[in-house]
Symmetry: C2
Subunit: 477 residues, 2 copies
Amino acid sequence: MSNRTYHAGASSLVILLAALLLLPAAFAAGPEPDPLTDTVAALQRDALASSRAWEVLESLTVEVGHRFTGSSGDRAAVAWAERTLRELGFENVHAEPVTVPHWVRGEASGETLSPFPQAMELIALGGSVGTPEEGISAEVLEVGSLAELEFLPDEQVRGKIVFINERMERTRDGSGYGTTVAIRGRGPVLAAGKGAVAVLIRSVGTGPQRFPHTGGTHYDDELPKIPAAALAIPDADVLEAQLRHGEPVRFRLRLTSRTLPDATSANVIGEIRGRERPDEIVLLGAHLDSWDVGTGAVDDGAGCAIVTATARLIGDLPRHPRRTLRVVLFANEEFGLSGARAYAEAHAEELPRHALAVESDLGAGPPWRFGTRWAPEARPVAERIAAWLEPLGVELFEDEIHGGADLIPLAPARVPVAELPQDASRYFDVHHTANDTLTQVDPKDLAKNVAAYATLAYAAAEIPESLGPAPEVERSR
Amino acid sequence: MSNRTYHAGASSLVILLAALLLLPAAFAAGPEPDPLTDTVAALQRDALASSRAWEVLESLTVEVGHRFTGSSGDRAAVAWAERTLRELGFENVHAEPVTVPHWVRGEASGETLSPFPQAMELIALGGSVGTPEEGISAEVLEVGSLAELEFLPDEQVRGKIVFINERMERTRDGSGYGTTVAIRGRGPVLAAGKGAVAVLIRSVGTGPQRFPHTGGTHYDDELPKIPAAALAIPDADVLEAQLRHGEPVRFRLRLTSRTLPDATSANVIGEIRGRERPDEIVLLGAHLDSWDVGTGAVDDGAGCAIVTATARLIGDLPRHPRRTLRVVLFANEEFGLSGARAYAEAHAEELPRHALAVESDLGAGPPWRFGTRWAPEARPVAERIAAWLEPLGVELFEDEIHGGADLIPLAPARVPVAELPQDASRYFDVHHTANDTLTQVDPKDLAKNVAAYATLAYAAAEIPESLGPAPEVERSR
């Protein structure tokens, strides 16, 4: 950055010459303004001055609140999204039906019975079966990780409530989640295989606040389905301390969760049609569904607000970009990705014409970095976009990316994807908790995200070159 | 501070001379060491190196948890306190019975019914009556303050659920609480007097976390008793935003709270007996009871741990101070001060021999400042103690003080009191919420408090002079 500034001042002749030589390439390096750079600057300025993302997010959280897959809130959210995109002047606004599971949380309670009776804050994991009406009472067996559980002989586990007490690390990129979340997804199956009667996990989350973190878990049809819940971090601390006393700790867990027949939800779509190649799509995704315990402001109301405000802002330009911007508010990201799969199926024919797909689903922190998974020949485009993003505090990163959960089903079609994730340092403090509310969101960070997403989306929709096809994805993904 | 250091180095002869001249006064100003100063320094050093307060607090919160007045936790806490003080080698350990009210929270739920149905996080105010089984459904009337409610004509209030939407300000001294808490205490009576059917308040607390804050409220026997609850701050934000839409907002409130017959609790007392004047008492107070929704780590487990560790630390000195240190863990501070009143009655004869009383009841933040309400002639003692406290970051303050809620009943006997409050900047984020847990407490701050309290307590128990009687309290208090 400082190097570039120095050259611009001291050797502008060299730069000018270089720019002239490179002019035929749309992405000439160097500081000289060009129409694309000017437009990006104007978009960023307007985004930072606008409160539209905040207004969209406030509207969603105040008028709908939570919108858990299959719930009445889910239906209200679909109606809200169609109404909102229409009111904002999007084109081709419509809802595409998606069949979704319908799990109902019911009530949850838990308590240590001995040696020190104490009620605990806990929450059922998404998809958990309920307990018998009177609950399940058993001795607690603590393990520090799935690996530790794996190596325990069955007879030590049989009849116990397994407490998986693994701590998640706070990181800026959210990687602490990736390395810990398996206790939530795989804990119940692993414990059931060894004869456990229920599973408690330390919430997969960060921070000292007393909110248990939910999130989906899975069962194996060959094994008993055992109830599974997450303790709030302070309660995991208390249980851990009680266990340190050395006496057996008995616990009672009671959940009234159950699964109802599948329900219907929808992906909601709205477009800003391209002026030259309207059949080429830049997909701006976020997921409309949320867990049922907060108002889903951060996960993923923020994403819905960011991509909606981004597309609207670009649509307000004197002329639309070359390609179509398509906002896709996915159904049911949280509980099985059925919206994402339905989109990939319904739009299979069109996927080769997806010029780029990006999803905002890491909360409402400031935009932080930018990565791509697209054709190696289009690497200079990534660098050019990164230079535009730099003043927003966003830097290019080189890690392998997949582009957001809802974009996974697009990978076989080799759709180019980008990631423009938020700083997630505090994201997992509220993620999947009742504390995920608008009060946690900073309107300035939201506007900054719109500035960053508008930069990327406009560039992808306007540049003449193709970014695809993306490299083939390895089988394991 | 730096001035004093300079003098000590450069003009020590002058200082020495001054010290010699002033020797007859036990509190000669100046930096020359004396036995008292040496002992205070040793106490501070030992306090900062000790984890005893943390261990006491962990034991209370892990083995007992909440201990709401009249509950089984309350009884467990009394047993815990007697056991703990005995195990720590206190003398004269005993429990003095206190009759306490016994209110039971039951369940609480609430939701907006129209125009935008949404479940809300709320909590019954302590003492609230319940609603009918099906709840109370009515239109919401928002007011910004008690004053605004007071001036509304009855016909505007009649039949409504009054929503008192006043924000508490974050301050270091907790004064924002003092200026706002009347909405909790007086809101229900004021609203009932105008025909309201229920009251909702914005939680009297700070921060963005979604925990409703409880706390006691009051009724007037001449008026209908209407149910009263506090909304979590994010939920108050949502309700406020819904009301801004301009359409009538209907709300359903359901509480199953009820009051049971009085119960028995106890003040728990333990002493470090004085070596010369054992019948003169330095009272170190905190309250043992807590609200029923957290584990009361901050309010007031921290205070219990601080005063217990303080007295124990001083008791470990090669010789006990002149006067007796009496730790009093008061029953029922939160719900009517019955423990404090019972103590004042039971010890009425002894109150004139209370050399000082101090209570720690502002949480677990670092010690911040030091104030006194004692005989004007003993002012130099305050300054001397303040000089010792300075290295701990504690400064002398001159505001009028009363010495903590549990010390109010001691005022008519003109017992000298001090305040050594914690920095309360974050106290009201967790105060009276489910989030009041050990995970919120920093062990280093706790140790720092013990260092500060030990300084004050040792000085008060050791100096030959009397600090009393305190100035007479005006009638209004």
